[in-house]
C-alpha cells in the first residue's frame, strides 16, 4: 500500500519522521485520518492523542495544540508539544493533573474565565498523557 511521509515537529525537535500507512489526529473540527493521496489540507489541531500505523507497528503520540498541513506527498504536524506514549512521564502527568484541577477550582471560584480556560487546557493535556501512557502499558491498542 502506498505510504505518506509524516512529520511531527515541535519547537524543540522533530519528534517523528516516518512513512506511514495512516495517521489519525484530533482536529479542531473532529478527529480525522490521513492516508497517501489525501487532498491538500490545512487543519487546526487540539490537545489529544495522535495515532499512526506503519505495517503492524502502531504508535501513539500525545500532542498539544497546533496545526496540520497536508500537501501532495507529505503531512506535517506543527505542534507546541508532542511526546510518544512510551516516553511519557506518568508521575509528572499525574502531578500536572492535580495542579490543573486545583487551578480550575480556584478559577471557577473566582469566576476568572481566562484562568479557567488555561486550567482546562492544562488538565486536558495531563489527561491525554495519562490515558495514552496507560493504554500503552496495558498493551491494548486503542
Amino acid at each position: 500500500m502506498a505510504r505518506i511521509l509524516m512529520e511531527i515537529v515541535t519547537p524543540d525537535k522533530v519528534v517523528a519522521t516516518e512513512e506511514v500507512d495512516i495517521v489519525t489526529a484530533p482536529g479542531v473540527a473532529g478527529e480525522f485520518g490521513v492516508m497517501a493521496g489525501h487532498a491538500p489540507m490545512l487543519a487546526g489541531l487540539k490537545i489529544g492523542p495522535l495515532h499512526y500505523r506503519v505495517g503492524d507497528k502502531e504508535e501513539w503520540v500525545a500532542i498539544s495544540g497546533g496545526f496540520c498541513e497536508v500537501t501532495g506527498k507529505k503531512v506535517t504536524f506543527l505542534v507546541e508539544a508532542a511526546e510518544k506514549a512510551y516516553e511519557i512521564d506518568v508521575e509528572r502527568a499525574l502531578r500536572a493533573k492535580e495542579r490543573a484541577e486545583k487551578r480550575l477550582q480556584e478559577a471557577l471560584a473566582k469566576g476568572d474565565r481566562l484562568a479557567e480556560a488555561r486550567a482546562r487546557a492544562a488538565l486536558q493535556r495531563a489527561l491525554t498523557r495519562i490515558a495514552l501512557a496507560e493504554r500503552v502499558k496495558s498493551g491494548i491498542p486503542r
Binding site: 491538500p40 490545512l42 497546533g66
Partner: protein, 292 residues
Amino acid sequence: MPNLRDIRRKIDAIKKIGQITRAMNMVAAAKLRGAQARLEQFRPYGDKYKEVIQELVSSGAVLPSQFPLTQVREVRAVGLILVTADRGLCGAFNANLIKEAESFIGEQEGQGRKVKMICVGKKGYQYFRRRGEVLEAFPDVMGKVMMQDARTIARRAMTAFLNEEIDEAYLIYGYFINVVRQIPKREKILPISFEAQEEAPERAFTGAPIYEPSPEELFEQILPMYVNTRVYAAMLETAVSEQAARMTAMDNANRACEDMVRDLTLLFNKTRQASITKELMDIVGGAEALKG
C-alpha cells in the same frame, strides 16, 4: 621599589583569575554549541508558521485586516519586549541591548508615545526597573529557553495589545551573526503585518485546499501561536548570542591575563635583580669599609 612578595602575590592572583576565565570560556563554548543546535532545530518550525500564514493571506483565503491581532490603530503607547541575558560577564552584550532599547525609547517618546516595557532576562530588568515603565518582568528564563516561557511572555504582550494598553509591540534582542559578531535587532511583532504580495510565494498547496475549520478560524488560531514563535526565536537568538559574547569576552580576559602575567614577571625579575645588585653593593661596600 615594589616589594618582591607583593608582585609574586599579584602574579598568583592573576593566574588564578586566568584559570577561571579559561574555564568560563570553555563552558560558554559548550553552551554555545547546545544553544546553536536548538536554534537550528527550531528554524523549520518557525519558518513553517511564516509560510502557512503567508499562504493563507496571499491565496486570498482570509482578509488579514479582520483580526484583532492585526488591527492597525493610532499609536499612543508602544510595548517593548527587551530580551537580555540573565547574567553578565559577557562583554558589552547586555549594555548594547540596553543602549538600543534606550535609543528606541528616545525615538518613540520624541513622537509623543509612551513606552511600556516587558523585560525578559534579568539584566534588562535590573536596568529599567527604576528608569522606565515596566509592565512585567521575566527574570531567570534565559538559562534554558523554554517554549512555555515564550508563550507566557507573548500572551502578556498580546493581552496588553488587545486591551489597548499598547498599540504596537516591538522586540529587541541579540541577533546572532557569527561567533564574534552579535548585534541588537529590532522587530515589530504587533500588530501582525504581512509582506506585500507582489511576488507570489512558492505554492505549498496544489489545487484548492481543504480548510478545517474555516480559514478564518484557523487563522485566528494560528496568529497567537505565530507571535509565540517570534518571541521564542528572539529568546533563542539572544541565548546563542550571549554565549558567543561570553566566549569572546573570556578569550579577551585570558589574553589580558597572559599579558599581565608577562609584564609582572618581567617586573618581578627586574626587581629581584635590582635587590640582588643592591645587596651585593652593600656587601662590597661593607668589605671596602672594613679593608679601609
